[in-house]
Symmetry: C2
Subunit: 200 residues, 2 copies
């Protein structure tokens, strides 16, 4: 049916307007009216397609997660075929770092949500740990594969090393968003650490 397709299209249009505002002005500026104006629709329509504001926020957050997953899939695909474990780890981590417009947008928007979700324990339980745990598991698995291939010292603990790498890129991303350094400097620090990890 055509109506349903347009429905989803409208929801996407409105949710992405919200994400655009969250990126450029922060979530506290994303009022229903501001989202409506940004999306070029009336306030009533935002209400119509998302009954409540919480619904809109949650839907947009889900779309943001999908966008990040898309980006990661693209960077993984660009890691070569077949990719080495080291290439996969490098791709995934570098992909998260705010080095270009898209990753900066995603990082900034995630940060906007982060502070909001920290004081909402139930939303935290639902959306918080899932993606991050998945990332760390993936990294740990690739590190184990690298150990089997001899590209990584067997003395390293894959789980702990994976957690450290994930935390490192998150922290580096924060420093980039905070203006402490630019994306290239952060990437240089990351690759430096990866070199030390895989060459020792």
């Amino acid at each position: 049916m055509n109506a349903k397709v347009e429905h989803e299209e409208r929801r996407r249009q409105i949710a992405e307007a919200l994400l655009r505002i969250a990126d450029t002005q922060g979530l506290q500026s994303a009022s229903m009216r501001a989202v409506a104006a940004e999306a070029g629709v009336s306030l009533r329509l935002v209400q119509y397609y998302f009954e409540t504001k919480e619904g809109l926020l949650l839907d947009a957050l889900a779309r943001l997660g999908a966008q990040l997953q898309d980006r990661m899939a693209r960077w993984i695909a660009a890691a070569g075929s077949p990719p080495t474990p080291r290439a996969l780890v490098t791709a995934v981590l570098a992909c998260i770092l705010p080095t270009d417009a898209e990753s900066r947008r995603i990082a900034r928007t995630y940060t906007a949500y982060y502070a909001l979700v920290l004081n909402d324990p139930e939303a935290l339980a639902k959306h918080g740990t899932g993606q991050a745990d998945l990332l760390e598991s993936f990294l740990a698995e690739q590190l184990r594969a690298a150990q089997r291939d001899g590209g990584l010292s067997p003395a390293r603990d894959p789980r702990i090393t994976a957690a450290g790498l994930a935390a490192l890129v998150n922290g580096l991303g924060q420093s980039v968003l905070g203006g402490q350094r630019d994306g290239e400097a952060a990437l240089a620090i990351l690759t430096h650490h990866l070199d030390e990890l895989f060459d020792a």
Copy 2:
């Protein structure tokens, strides 16, 4: 003069009420009226001691920074006398990690400010890079000292390693606040990485 002392005392009382709300409910819940109620004073007094809300937010942020600096000074003092460079690095990094009530409070409150400041470029320039750069410089200096003492391989780049450590603890802190793991697990990951750094 007594009046001035009370003045500062009132400002402290009100600013700490703001920080308490930012910690427990987030900065978006820290309205003038909420701060007044939390501090046990009238709305008019909050206006009187801080002409504008922005002034209150900035003052409270400065106090938060001082509290973190105090905590770091205490942890440095507890690192032994004379402390080894490694002990200093460990103390400073572990002190930032949200492992007890105070550090969790500071980390949560900083996060609340973080999202707000990200979309205010001028405030970002003033408060953003200073503390973080200072921390990294301190860490780099201690790493150089460790290299002179033979406790750290001279092959490591102090600046890059210091930046990596700072980013690591920030990222670990994020994961703790997000509920991905508890403070002890984060501390275990940090000490594991420090062991690998200093023993290799």
